[in-house]
């Protein structure tokens, strides 16, 4: 990693570390690509929570489950599904997107031949995924409102919670992509890491019904912390939620440094 300040040459501005203009440049590439596929992504982001809410919220909620922790099952699942939307719009696109760009499209070769360093590249990719997931993470909440969830001012914080959680999972996905040799190896990660995180997040059932050891472990699951924060935003925030939020920010920062390191090893011979 380099930290430079150089006089501009031929219309080129200063060159230094973590330049906002460069990060914006890398993100502009993502935006240009996103314009070509946003319809499909948006369609599935809207439809998926509708299907889940119909199946779990309305189906299970009206037949088997009356309510959870004082919430109707639609309220419980609708708020919980924010975390599902976040992990599936951050970790998976980061894993597959990074691998494809690195291995098949040679995109990173092109970007790194320009005055962009790996730290800027990873940061830009994370920020873009974070922004996108912050946006799409709100969709289950909006859908749940159509199914009866009461709007609350605290919900305005949900995109911020989603953004920071998605940053961490984007960095996780980038780290995984920089660590595997074949795309098939993602199956191990989705089965052994992502699915358990997604299931033990308090999305579809409260974790206090799980064995004590699992409950303790769930506290280290960023998705569980996100679910708790979203429910707090919808039904009443408390001071302890600041600690949850700080934990999500720390998760993002630590994984960011890990992702930069792994990608440097992968991209620089």
């Amino acid at each position: 990693m380099i930290g430079l300040r150089r006089k501009g040459v031929g219309g080129i501005n200063e060159v230094k570390r973590l330049e906002p203009a460069v990060i914006a440049g890398v993100m502009s590439r993502e935006v240009a690509n996103f314009r070509t596929y946003w319809k499909g992504t948006t369609f599935s982001s809207v439809l998926e929570p509708i299907v889940y809410l119909l199946a779990f919220g309305v189906g299970l909620g009206s037949t088997l489950i009356n309510g959870v922790d004082g919430l109707s099952y639609v309220e419980f699942v609708g708020t919980g599904m924010v975390a599902t939307a976040v992990i599936f719009s951050s970790a998976l696109p980061a894993m597959f997107g990074t691998f494809v760009k690195e291995r098949f499209q040679n995109t990173y070769d092109a970007i790194l031949a320009a005055p962009v360093d790996v730290e800027e590249l990873v940061t830009a990719e994370m920020l873009w995924i974070g922004i996108r997931a912050g946006f799409y993470g709100c969709f289950p909440l909006l859908v749940a409102m159509a199914f009866g969830l009461e709007p609350a001012f605290g919900m305005l914080l949900v995109p911020i919670f989603c953004f920071f959680t998605a940053l961490g999972f984007a960095a996780f996905g980038i780290t995984v992509a920089a660590s595997v040799q074949k795309i098939d190896q993602f199956n191990y990660v989705t089965t052994l890491v992502i699915t358990p995180l997604f299931l033990v997040a308090g999305t579809f059932f409260p974790i206090n019904q799980l064995p004590e050891g699992v409950q303790v472990a769930a506290n280290f699951n960023p998705l569980y912390q996100l679910v708790e924060l979203v429910r707090a935003a919808a039904f009443g925030l408390e001071a302890t939620d600041l600690i949850r939020f700080a934990a999500l920010v720390a998760f993002a920062v630590v994984l960011w440094r890990v992702a930069v390191r792994r990608m440097t090893t992968r991209l620089i011979d």
Binding site: V9, T36, Q105, D269
Partner: protein, 306 residues
């Protein structure tokens, strides 16, 4: 297209001193010494595996040398690599354009990455250079192979670099597109852009390069103007002899007994420096032609030329 003014005429744009790059047991670049003065086009000619692409990656900071010194203009690598890259354009061997994105967006993204102040003007200039102004809103995957290569070149020049690295710029292209690109590259050379071009096409090096450095096993084994290299390593004339294997073996033995260099040339053998023969080693039916860079290349590297 104009290039940045040169402060020191013929000062090295690129300097490599004893550069070494190993990948496990393989030494891809092995004590490479190379100077590229500003304002020339240097052709880096060598067979596959000679270390040309690794040399390019060392210059872009995408590979870090295990030993030696590398400078691009006043910047020492790898520490100052980012500043060095701001002054160079790179045209890769593999097409890495964003295929779903429009032609103009491909240019605009890289103009931003190179911190060009007027992105719109840079895009217009790139479109004009690539002759794609009327295709500006088309996705790249709708373009022909030749158009894509022109766009790659324009992308590498979007910030008016002082130095252009061309890594096998015409590999895999049909002859018509290759000639088209040569015209573009020749125009840049004429305007004074410093170019380092790796290639394994002899004709490409002969047509475009002011000087050629022949690379093999990670080192430069000969360097000079094409005419100088030919005179030094291949003499004035080469005689090609065709015939059945037995006869070729006989002719070869006779020529080598005279101290002449003989190399395979497809179905024939080529006797390099045949003008030096005084003792009837060159058969009457041999086809005599002026020596070429290909003779030099094959003689020095032992590889068949393309």
């Amino acid at each position: 297209m104009t290039t940045a003014s040169k402060t020191e005429p013929n000062a090295p744009a690129i300097t490599l001193r004893g550069a070494v790059k190993r990948f496990g047991e393989i030494t891809a670049v092995d004590g490479l010494d190379l100077d590229v003065p500003e304002g020339i086009c240097l052709g880096l000619l060598g067979p596959n595996g000679a270390g040309k692409s690794t040399t390019m990656r060392l210059l872009t900071g995408q590979a870090i040398a295990d030993a030696g010194e590398i400078r691009v203009f006043e910047h020492g690598l790898p520490g100052d690599s980012k500043a060095a890259r701001a002054q160079m354009g790179v045209v890769p061997q593999l097409d890495n354009l964003d295929v779903d994105v429009t032609v103009e967006d491909n240019l605009a993204i890289f103009a931003r990455l190179y911190r060009v102040q007027n992105v719109g003007e840079a895009v217009e200039r790139g479109l004009a250079l690539a002759r794609l102004t009327d295709r500006r809103r088309d996705a790249v995957d709708e373009l022909s192979g030749g158009m894509r290569r022109r766009l790659l070149l324009a992308r590498g020049l979007v910030h008016r670099p002082r130095l252009l690295l061309l890594d096998e710029p015409t590999v895999g292209l049909d002859p018509q597109i290759r000639t088209e690109l040569w015209t573009l590259i020749d125009g840049l050379r004429t305007q004074g852009t410093t170019i380092l071009m790796s290639t394994h096409y002899i004709e490409e090096a002969e047509r475009l390069a002011d000087e050629v450095a022949v690379m093999a096993h990670g080192k430069v084994i000969a360097r000079g103007r094409p005419s100088e290299l030919i005179a030094e390593h291949a003499g004035r004339e080469t005689a090609e002899v065709y015939g059945p294997p037995d006869r070729l073996a006989e002719v070869r033995a006779l020529a080598e007994s005279e101290g002449l260099v003989v190399r395979p040339a497809g179905p024939a053998i080529a006797i390099v420096g045949s003008e030096a023969s005084t003792d009837g080693a060159i058969p009457e039916d041999a086809i005599r032609r002026a020596a070429t860079l290909e003779d030099v290349f094959v003689r020095l590297t032992g590889e068949e030329a393309e």
